[in-house]
Subunit: 286 residues, 4 copies
């Protein structure tokens, strides 16, 4: 049973050694360790980030006992510490609208065991994809929304998420702008896919904007949803070459492949506990 | 001796046949033909673009005689027509500043015969690269510039370009903003490399902007310089993956490779007479 | 209603004009034209390839009447001619085994209208994916195979394909080697996805081979199945960067994404009538 | 002054902690640490690799004193240890032939300070690039070679490398096959660029082979030279999309850009002390 320790603290001498030592003292086998210093090493204000994957191999050790024994180190270096259990897949909800590509892709990956995701529910403002969700034995909740009913609908979505104890919400082209209030319930726990290479083409109809600008690449950006629309910390991005030949419909079709791949990459990074957030930036461990 | 015919006209039935027929009637061998309709085929306002490469193989034919014989077709379809001679490399100037990467790359490609460019002169506001230019027997003109001397300097640059009968100006990270007046002398004949994936990170210090936004890709854009800064028709773009690990200096280094490749790709497309401009968009023939 | 004319003939002067003229004379509107000469233009043995997309807009014209009127041109230039109807999606079968990724992807694209494919049947040597096929109302035929039963099983597959009037067979990781006899029934009508960048890692377990060789890229190749295993004409290929960190299982997982995208790209090119075969090479029109 | 510690040993519990502790005890600041276990963690035969970058910040510490104090840890875990000094650029020779692209690119990167390389000499079997080398004040040694003179020429090359105390030899399209004896003088210290995606198209004329096979991608591979030609440990690889349109000459031109970028990437990894070799595979730290 592997555990993941995610920590950050002011950059200081000796922190790597102290952490490694604490893990070794607990009889654990370090499988993977990665660290990163934001800012210049040794300078004021620089921040140390680390992700350690380790196996608790000694009898009688547990995540709880480890965290207890790690406390002195955490306090000494003023650390923020999170411990995650790799054997426990994250309870997840997918929100979608009419477009199927991201939803189908995530369902396929989940069903084939590729994503460590405990998929609890699919929520949509349209009823289109009930069949595939239910076919895969995933509860499907249809919650239509209009300008007038938005507050009620969001309350119903929140209730559904709570009912299923969801810890990650994946917006697989949900196409609705979530209220700040909604987002505040799941800080850095909502992943959205924006259909452009942010910060280019913020806002509506990015493929139309891209076509009008005559760009030679289209892109997609997966990011955590924050109150500032399209300003959330970016987890993954990619682009694909396009030519003058492609009209808006063709750019949109080409873009679907990029969106699908980028969203899956971001979701996987999150589920692997490889993403840390610092301000409006992410550290994505390898 | 291959000729390139670049034409555009309102989209009409029969235009492909009429053009092919006119070329065949002149005893020419069509080597390559590519066409594109902007807008819906057959609808009002749609525009037809074509690039034909052909060899005049019959005795006594010439570019001049061909153009003469092509006139009736051009008039019938209300065509804009340009005829280029593949055997004549385009007289070109490179403008650079202190950064060497794009300059060196273009010089290497030119010297190894890879680019059909008649390199006449290198112009710079710094004297740094005189040695390499002169080493390759290319005249180097040092024209320093300051806020106060900008009008005089631009006049001197224009005089140098005129003296060398330059038809293409490549801004290989020249780093100075050209005046509208300057640009008006070389419409769609100045290629600039912008160190971001436009329209993201318009303006100064795009790598710093990219770092602050926490993007996972950096990019570069080669475009024709127009009065609207960074709004010129895009010829080529590309991106490269980056991670949180890269600071501004590293992003800048990584970006240099992308800039170099993208600028070379755009310059080559222009020199091959493969670029047509429509509004603020390009058609880049394959 | 658009038609696609695919032709090839010995390269000769006047062929472009003659074809365009014949189409124009039939009152058709040429939407797209692309040509290619294999070998040096004008030299012996060089071959001319062309793909024309056109609309028959005049009353009373049809594919049949067009082919009739095109005959003199075809004979004059010794052309091989095929006419395809863009409005008629190609009757297609998907063959799969246990792995779901390519099957699910093709089903999703087909169901969302992205692929002009008339999906008639899914055939598999395992019963695993009956549910998803039937859920989408596609007949699913389970034909298990062993060394001993291979001839009978292939006969049953052929009978199923015949019964459904299939014109394209997509092997979505079918994992069985088809007999030469089987392949001879569908020349250049069976698309296979090989899980390596051919010709590297021909044969079994390419990801294991790749891992042992320590490559920094993995790839996938979509090709027409021919009697020479893994030697069929290549339609599409792509690669993805990998590092020393990835073990065989991880390479395999990474590879699935490449396989999925490459197979879809090849199938789409075939369905769009954009692929011509010459020897063991393909011309893939843009 | 940063130091790089490269180590490998049988995978054992406690090794990460022991190493970090030893560095901290010496008053050093760990800037970057990366580790990798080849094989399954905790299983027999698995090997632990680590790269640590650290600053010796305490007065009186030095690389020598560090290595001395590190000995007990190294012995306890049966480590292979190398300590490199980031402030000391590696003495390097470039060997080239007639093709300029890789040579010019490396010279440009070196001259602009991008590569931490102490370029001592350029050696070539042709005199073509004497001018650019000497222009940049790098000694150029012309050592022509023929079948008959190969042993003498290799002896002369070895003498030149020895005279300049070279520790890295970069074969920038040198085009000659080095003898096993020559290679034995510089084990894992000769980087070669092969103009294909190895193991595809081993041997001569890979672009011709690629054209004949009709591939849709071309590639390049940078690897350490070993006695088994084209079987050396791979450091970097990349590919570029090509189409049926490109003939052998065009594939070759397209390939040059890939070769240039891939070689530079491999050379930089080596110069940054980011490459470890295990069998015929590499670990390339990030």
């Amino acid at each position: 049973m592997s555990s993941v320790l995610l920590l950050s603290c002011p950059d200081q001498q000796g922190v790597v050694a102290a952490t490694a030592e604490a893990i070794a003292a607990h009889g654990a086998n370090i499988i993977h360790a990665e660290q990163y210093v934001r800012g210049e090493v040794g300078s004021d204000g620089s921040v140390f980030f680390q992700r350690m994957v380790f196996d608790l191999v000694r009898d009688g050790t547990s995540a709880t006992s480890f965290l207890e024994s790690f406390k002195p180190v955490a306090q000494r270096f003023d650390m923020t510490v999170e411990l995650r259990d790799m054997a426990r897949p994250t309870p997840t909800a997918i929100m979608c609208s009419k477009q199927p590509h991201c939803l189908y892709d995530l369902l396929t990956r989940w069903r084939s065991g590729e994503l460590p995701m405990d998929l609890r529910v699919v929520i949509s403002n349209h009823d289109d994809h009930r069949d595939i969700a239910e076919h895969m034995s995933v509860p499907f909740v249809h919650l239509p929304v209009s300008k007038e009913t938005k507050p009620e609908q969001e309350a119903a979505v929140l209730a559904t998420l709570a009912e299923h104890d969801v810890e990650l919400v994946v917006m697989a082209r949900y196409m609705q702008i979530l209220s700040d209030d909604f987002i505040a319930h799941y800080p850095m726990k909502i992943i959205n896919i924006h259909h452009s290479f942010l910060p280019a083409f913020i806002g509506a109809n990015p493929y139309r904007q891209a076509h009008e600008r005559g760009v030679k690449l289209i892109g997609a950006t997966a990011h955590y949803a924050t109150a500032d629309l399209d300003e959330g910390p970016i987890i993954a991005q990619d682009t694909a070459h396009v030519s003058h030949r492609e009209d808006v419909a063709q750019l949109t079709a080409r873009g679907r492949d990029v969106e699908t791949v980028v969203l899956a990459r971001a979701v996987r990074a999150h589920l692997d506990h490889r993403v840390a957030v610092h301000g409006h930036q992410t550290i994505v461990y390898s």
